[in-house]
C-alpha cells in the first residue's frame, strides 16, 4: 500500500476506539455533561504492573490519531508519528501510548456536532464551554476505565502541553513525568487577540446561525477558513515563511487584481479550504476559549510557583527559539516556577527555525532530548 510499515518505526495500522461515559461530568463552567463518548487510540502494550502508560494530549486542531495509519486510508498518518512508534523517542515497544480526542472535539468524541440526548438534535450553541481542567478530568476517567492508576508520562505540545501541566496539578499522584513542549503558562493579550479575531471570523459568518448551523445544512466555511489562515500565520516564523514562500509569485508577474498571486496567499487559502472541510466551527470556538482561560496561577493571585507547589511529577520543558506564539520566555516562566519549588525539571531551548510548529517537526536535537528523557523513565 505504500504506507509506512513497522520496520520504519511506525506502529502500523491502528483502529480508534470509543468509550462511553454515563456518569455526569461537572464542568468548570458550572454546566454538567450528562453523558459523553470519548474516542481514543492506543499503541504498544500495557505491562502487567500497568506502569508504562503514556498519555498524549492534542493541541488545537489535532486528534486522538497520534501515530500509525488507517487500513482504509494509509495516507492518514498520526500527527505525532515522527515522535511515537517502535524505536522512536516515545518508544511503543516500551510504553503503552494513548491518544485521545478531547471532549468538545470533532474527531469522534462528543462535541457540538453530536446529538444532545435532551433534544435529539445536535448540541450546537448549547454545547458547554470546556476547559483544560475539564479535559484532564475526562482523561482521568478514561485512565480509570483502562485500569491505569498512574501515567509514566503525560506528553503534549502547545495546548497539549497545558494539559500535561494541568495533569500534575489536578492529579499529582497520577503522573510521574510531564513533558511540556512549546507551552505557555497562560495566554498573553496578543495570543487572546489572535483567538478573538478567529472567533469573530466564525461567528460573523452568515452561515454560523448562532452556532446552530447544522439545522440549516450549512457550515460557516468562510469564517473557518479565515480562522485557520490566521492561525497558520502564528504557527510559522517569519524566517520559515520567507524560506518557504518568500515573495514568489505563482505566475511570475503582478496581475493587478485580488486573486491569488503570491505563493503564500495560495498556501494560506489551501490550508484554510482544507481545514474548513473537516473541522467543526463550534469546536474551534471552544478550543480557543479553553486556551484563553488556561491560567493555573489565577487561583493563586497570579503566582505560578504557588500554583505548581503541589505538583509531584518530574518535568521536561522544551521550547523553540523561533516560536513567537509561545516564545521561549513563556517556557522559562514555567521553568522558573518549577525551580522555585525545587521540583525536578530539565529545560531544553531548541534552536529551530520553524516557529511554533517546530514541536511537530523531526528535529534531531529536540527528538534526542525527548528520547533520552523517555529512556530514563522506561520501567
Amino acid at each position: 500500500m505504500g504506507a509506512p510499515r513497522e520496520a520504519d518505526g511506525s506502529v502500523g495500522a491502528v483502529t480508534p476506539q470509543d468509550m462511553q461515559f454515563d456518569e455526569p461530568l461537572p464542568l468548570v463552567s458550572g454546566a454538567v455533561m450528562p453523558s459523553y463518548s470519548i474516542r481514543y487510540e492506543t499503541y504498544g502494550t500495557l505491562n502487567a504492573e500497568r506502569s508504562n502508560a503514556v498519555l498524549v494530549c492534542h493541541a488545537l486542531n489535532a486528534s486522538h490519531h497520534v501515530a500509525g495509519w488507517y487500513e482504509d486510508d494509509p495516507k492518514d498518518i498520526g500527527w505525532w508519528d515522527n515522535l511515537i512508534g517502535p524505536g522512536k523517542p516515545v518508544d511503543t515497544d516500551r510504553f503503552f501510548v494513548i491518544g485521545i480526542n478531547n471532549l468538545g472535539g470533532c474527531h469522534g468524541s462528543t462535541g457540538p456536532a453530536s446529538i444532545n440526548p435532551a433534544t435529539g438534535k445536535p448540541w450546537g450553541a448549547d454545547f458547554p464551554v470546556v476547559t483544560v481542567d475539564d479535559w484532564v478530568q475526562v482523561h482521568a476517567r478514561l485512565a480509570d476505565r483502562l485500569g491505569i492508576r498512574q501515567f509514566a508520562a503525560v506528553v503534549g505540545g502547545s495546548l497539549g502541553a497545558m494539559q500535561s501541566l494541568q495533569w500534575t496539578l489536578r492529579f499529582p499522584d497520577r503522573v510521574r513525568n510531564s513533558l511540556v513542549i512549546a507551552a505557555a503558562p497562560k495566554l498573553s493579550a496578543q495570543n487572546i487577540a489572535f483567538n478573538e479575531v478567529a472567533r469573530q471570523a466564525i461567528t460573523t459568518d452568515p452561515d454560523f446561525h448562532g452556532g446552530n448551523y447544522y439545522a440549516h445544512g450549512v457550515v460557516p466555511r468562510r469564517g473557518l477558513r479565515i480562522a485557520r489562515m490566521l492561525g497558520h500565520i502564528t504557527y510559522l516564523s517569519d524566517d520559515a515563511m520567507a524560506e518557504k514562500f518568500g515573495r514568489e509569485l505563482r505566475e511570475g508577474e503582478f496581475k493587478f487584481g485580488f486573486d491569488v498571486e503570491f505563493e503564500i496567499e495560495s498556501y494560506l487559502r489551501y490550508q484554510g479550504d482544507k481545514f474548513s472541510t473537516y473541522f467543526d466551527a463550534n469546536t474551534y470556538l471552544r478550543i480557543t476559549k479553553a486556551l484563553d482561560y488556561f491560567d493555573p496561577a489565577m487561583a493563586h493571585g497570579g503566582n505560578l510557583a504557588a500554583a505548581l507547589a503541589g505538583a509531584k511529577a518530574r518535568f521536561l520543558v522544551i521550547s523553540f527559539t523561533s516560536d513567537w506564539r509561545f516564545s521561549p520566555g513563556r517556557s522559562r516562566e514555567i521553568v522558573k516556577a518549577l525551580l522555585d519549588n525545587g521540583h525536578d525539571v530539565s529545560y531544553a531551548e531548541i534552536d529551530a527555525p520553524h516557529g511554533h510548529d517546530a514541536f511537530l517537526m523531526d528535529d534531531p536535537r529536540y527528538h534526542g532530548v525527548v528520547r533520552a528523557y523517555m529512556n530514563n523513565i522506561a520501567t
Partner: protein, 213 residues
Amino acid sequence: MSIPGNGNGNGLPMRSDFDAIAQWVRPGSRVLDLGCGDGSLLRSLKQTRNVTGYGVDISDDNVLACVTNGVNVIQSDLEAGLSGFESGSFDYVILSQTLQAMKHTERLLREILRVGREGIVSFPNFGYWHARLQVLGGTMPVSRDLPYQWYDTPNIHLFTIEDFEIFCRGHRLRILDRVVLTAGRRVTFAPNLLGALAVYRLDQAHGAAAVGA
C-alpha cells in the same frame, strides 16, 4: 551555538577539582552547577552527598548528556545572568573551570552570590610556573592542562591566584576556603607559582571591612 568553556571542555584534567568541591558540599544541600557539562559533578554529588539541584549549560550536546545522565539541566546562557533563579535559593552555586571563559566576570560572580549562599569557583592558574616560563620564552602558555593556542582558546580572561584574591578583596567577596591543585595533588607552598588549578569557596562579605584570605 555552543560557547566553548561554558561546559567542561576547558582542557584541565577531567575535573580534578571535583574532590575538593565534594568535600565542601554539605550532605542534602541544594546545588546549582553553572557550566555543568555532562552533569557528572552533579551526579557524583547526588550519589555521595545526596544533594538536589540543577545544572546550567548552553550547549545542546551537554544538555542532552545531562538528560541522558538523569541530571536536571536548564539550558541557558550564563552571560545573560541568572535571572531565572531566585535569590538565596541554593546552598551552593558552583562555577567549575568556567570563569576564565566568561565575558561578564563581575556580574556573574555577583549573581552567583545572589542566588547561592556560598559560591564555589575553580579556575586554571595562569601564574603557574609552567605558564610563566612560556610567557618568558615569548609565547602564550599552552600545556596539557591548557591545550589551546592563543587564537582558538575559549579562555578570554587569563588571571592568577593573586589576581583573583585581589579581585575578591576589591569586590567584598569573602574567601572561606581555598584548595590549590597540580596534577590532582594539593599545593600548599607558593601556590601562585606551583599550583595549576585553584578552587575557592566564597560568600558575600557583610559589614564594612571586606575580608581577605
